[in-house]
C-alpha cells in the first residue's frame, strides 16, 4: 500500500464527519444568516441585532454574567491551584479528583442540585428562615446571581487546572530565594508567584469566559425567563419562533463577540504590562 493511500484511508472517515457535520453545516448556517424572509441576500438580521436595544441588552447581559463567572472562578480557583501546587503527589491527586470528577457528571444534574440548595423553599432559605435570620425567602435563583453560581460551579475546574499548570512550572528555589532575601509570604506572592502564574491565569480567564458566553443549560435552568442570554435566545428563535435566519445570526453574533473580546483581552495583557512574562 502506498504512503499516500494509507494517509487517505486513515483520515477519510474523520474528514467525512468533519465536513458533513461541521464545515458544511457552519457554512450553510452562515449563508442562512444572510437571508431575509423571501430568501434573498440581506444583512437585515445582523442590522436588527445591532440596532434593536433588546438584543444589545441580551449581549450586555451575556457578557456581564460571563465576566462575573470569570471573577468568581478566579477568586475561588486560585487558592485551590496554589494548594495543589504546594501539595504532595498523593494530596494533589485527591484534590484533583474532587474538583475534576464532578465536572464529568451531567451539568443538568449539578444545576438541579443547586436549585434544591438555592430555591425559595431550598436548603439555604429554609435554614435561614428557621433560624430566624430572615423572615422572607431570599431570591437566590432565577436571577443573574443564580446563573453566575451555576456557571462558576460548572467551569471552576478549567480555571484551577489552567492556573495549577503554570504554578507547577515555577522553580521552587525562587520561593527560597525570596524568603532568604527577607520577603514576607505576601510580598513573595505578589512579586514571584502571581506574575509567574499569569500565563495560566490568562488561559483560565479566556477559557472560562468563552465557555460562559456560550453556556445554554445553566442559564436556561437557573436563570428562568427573566435572565435571558444569547444562547437561550438563539435556541428560542430556532425551536420556538422558527426564525432560522435570525437564530443563525444570533449564533454568529455570539461566536464573533466571544472571539473579539478574547482577542482584545489577549492583546491587552500581552502588549501592556506583562510582555516580558509572556515572551519568556
Amino acid at each position: 500500500m502506498t504512503r499516500r493511500l494509507s494517509i487517505l484511508l486513515l483520515t477519510a472517515p474523520s474528514m467525512i464527519v468533519l465536513l458533513g457535520v461541521f464545515l458544511i453545516p457552519m457554512l450553510m448556517m452562515f449563508l442562512l444568516s444572510l437571508q431575509d424572509e423571501t430568501e434573498q441576500f440581506s444583512l437585515q438580521n445582523y442590522l436588527l441585532l445591532v440596532q434593536d436595544p433588546y438584543y444589545l441588552e441580551l449581549l450586555g447581559r451575556t457578557i456581564r454574567v460571563s465576566l462575573w463567572t470569570v471573577l468568581c472562578t478566579l477568586v475561588l480557583g486560585f487558592p485551590v491551584a496554589m494548594f495543589m501546587a504546594g501539595a504532595s503527589g498523593r494530596m494533589r491527586g485527591i484534590v484533583a479528583m474532587l474538583i475534576l470528577a464532578p465536572h464529568l457528571i451531567s451539568v443538568v444534574i449539578r444545576n438541579f442540585g443547586w436549585v434544591v440548595i438555592l430555591g425559595e423553599k431550598g436548603w439555604i432559605n429554609e435554614t435561614l428562615l428557621s433560624l430566624g435570620v430572615i423572615d422572607q425567602p431570599l431570591r437566590l435563583l432565577y436571577n443573574e446571581l443564580g446563573v453566575v453560581i451555576g456557571l462558576t460551579d460548572a467551569f471552576i475546574a478549567y480555571m484551577v487546572l489552567a492556573i495549577a499548570t503554570s504554578l507547577y512550572a515555577i522553580d521552587t528555589s525562587l520561593y527560597k530565594a525570596s524568603a532568604i532575601l527577607g520577603a514576607s509570604h505576601i510580598r513573595t506572592f505578589f512579586t514571584v508567584t502571581l506574575p509567574l502564574s499569569l500565563p495560566g491565569v490568562v488561559a483560565g480567564i479566556t477559557l472560562v469566559f468563552s465557555l460562559s458566553m456560550s453556556a445554554f443549560v445553566t442559564p436556561a435552568l437557573m436563570g428562568g425567563t427573566s435572565v435571558k442570554v444569547i444562547p437561550v435566545s438563539a435556541y428560542e428563535q430556532i425551536m420556538t419562533t422558527l426564525n432560522w435566519p435570525l437564530g443563525a445570526a444570533l449564533a454568529f453574533m455570539l461566536l464573533g463577540s466571544s472571539i473579539l473580546l478574547v482577542t482584545l483581552f489577549a492583546r491587552l495583557v500581552e502588549t501592556k504590562r506583562y510582555k516580558e512574562v509572556f515572551s519568556a
Partner: protein
C-alpha cells in the same frame, strides 16, 4: 499555637461547594415525603420505584446508553485512525489537518447543534438516529485524536519495523505491537467519548426526534416543569453510573492529565 493553613481551608471550602449538588441530591432522593426537601423527611425507596412508572425516563436512559456506546466505539475508531495518520506521516497539509481535527472543540456545541440541524434538514437527516450519532461522533473525535496523539508521541516506530522484519503482517504488527503500547490512550478516549455523549444536552437539543430523546434532555425538560424527588432519584442513578466511568478513567489515564487535554464540554 499552630498556624492555620488558609490555603487548605479555602481549598476544602471550594471542594465542598463543587460537590455540594451531589451531597444534596443523593440524600434527597430517599425522602419519604411527596416533595423535594433537604434534609429529607424520613427514608424510603418510593422515588426509585416511581421511576418505573415513568417510561420516558427508562426509555431515554436506554436510548442514551445505546447512543453513547455506539458513539464511543465509532469515534474511537475514526479518531484513532486519524491520529495514526497524523503521528506516523508528515505530509503536506498535515498541520492544517491536525488543526481541523481539533476545531470542533473551539466552536460551542450549541452552535454545532444549530448548524447541524440546518444542514440535516436540507439533506433529510434531521430527527434521525444517524444524524444525532454523527453529531455526537463529531464532538468526541477531537478528544480521541488528542489523547491518542499524546499516546503515540512517545511511541517508538522502530518497534513496528522490528515486527515487520520478523515477518509479521501490518495488522498483526498493529495488534501485537502498537495497540498494547497505546491502549491506555485509546481506552480513555473511548470512556471519555462515552461520557461526552451520555451527558450531552446542547447538541442533542436540536437533533433528537420527538419521542426518542436522551436522558439528560428528558431530565432537562422535566425540570423546567416540575421539581420533585423523582429528578433526585433519576439523577442519583446517573451520578453513580458516571462515577463508575470516572473511576475507570482515573485508573486508566489519570484525571488531571486528561483535563490537560480537554477544553470544553458544556
Amino acid at each position: 499555637m499552630k498556624k492555620i493553613n488558609w490555603l487548605g481551608v479555602l481549598t476544602i471550602v471550594v471542594l465542598i461547594l463543587v460537590n455540594l449538588p451531589f451531597l444534596i441530591i443523593i440524600p434527597s432522593s430517599f425522602t419519604a415525603a411527596g416533595y423535594l426537601a433537604f434534609p429529607p423527611d424520613g427514608f424510603s425507596w418510593q422515588w426509585y420505584a416511581k421511576i418505573f412508572d415513568r417510561p420516558e425516563f427508562i426509555d431515554s436512559f436506554l436510548f442514551s446508553l445505546q447512543l453513547a456506546a455506539v458513539t464511543a466505539v465509532l469515534s474511537t475508531l475514526i479518531g484513532t485512525l486519524a491520529a495514526f495518520a497524523l503521528s506516523k506521516y508528515t505530509f503536506r497539509g498535515s498541520r492544517v489537518l491536525n488543526a481541523l481535527m481539533l476545531s470542533p472543540l473551539t466552536v460551542p456545541t450549541l452552535i454545532i447543534g444549530i448548524a447541524a440541524l440546518m444542514f440535516f434538514t436540507r439533506i433529510g437527516l434531521a430527527g434521525t438516529f444517524t444524524g444525532l450519532l454523527l453529531a455526537h461522533i463529531l464532538i468526541s473525535i477531537p478528544y480521541v485524536v488528542r489523547l491518542v496523539l499524546t499516546g503515540l508521541s512517545t511511541f517508538d516506530y522502530t518497534l513496528e519495523k522490528a515486527g515487520y522484519m520478523l515477518g509479521a503482517r501490518p495488522l498483526r504488527v498493529f495488534w501485537d505491537v502498537t495497540l498494547p503500547l497505546i491502549r491506555p490512550a485509546i481506552v480513555s478516549g473511548m470512556i471519555f467519548s462515552f461520557l461526552t455523549s451520555f451527558d450531552n444536552v446542547t447538541v442533542s437539543l436540536f437533533l433528537v426526534a420527538p419521542g426518542t430523546t436522551t436522558l439528560p434532555l428528558t431530565i432537562f425538560s422535566y425540570m423546567q416543569e416540575t421539581l420533585d424527588p423523582l429528578v433526585a432519584s433519576v439523577s442519583t442513578v446517573v451520578i453513580l453510573l458516571s462515577l463508575v466511568f470516572i473511576v475507570l478513567l482515573e485508573k486508566v489515564y489519570g484525571l488531571e492529565r486528561l483535563f490537560g487535554l480537554n477544553s470544553q464540554s458544556h
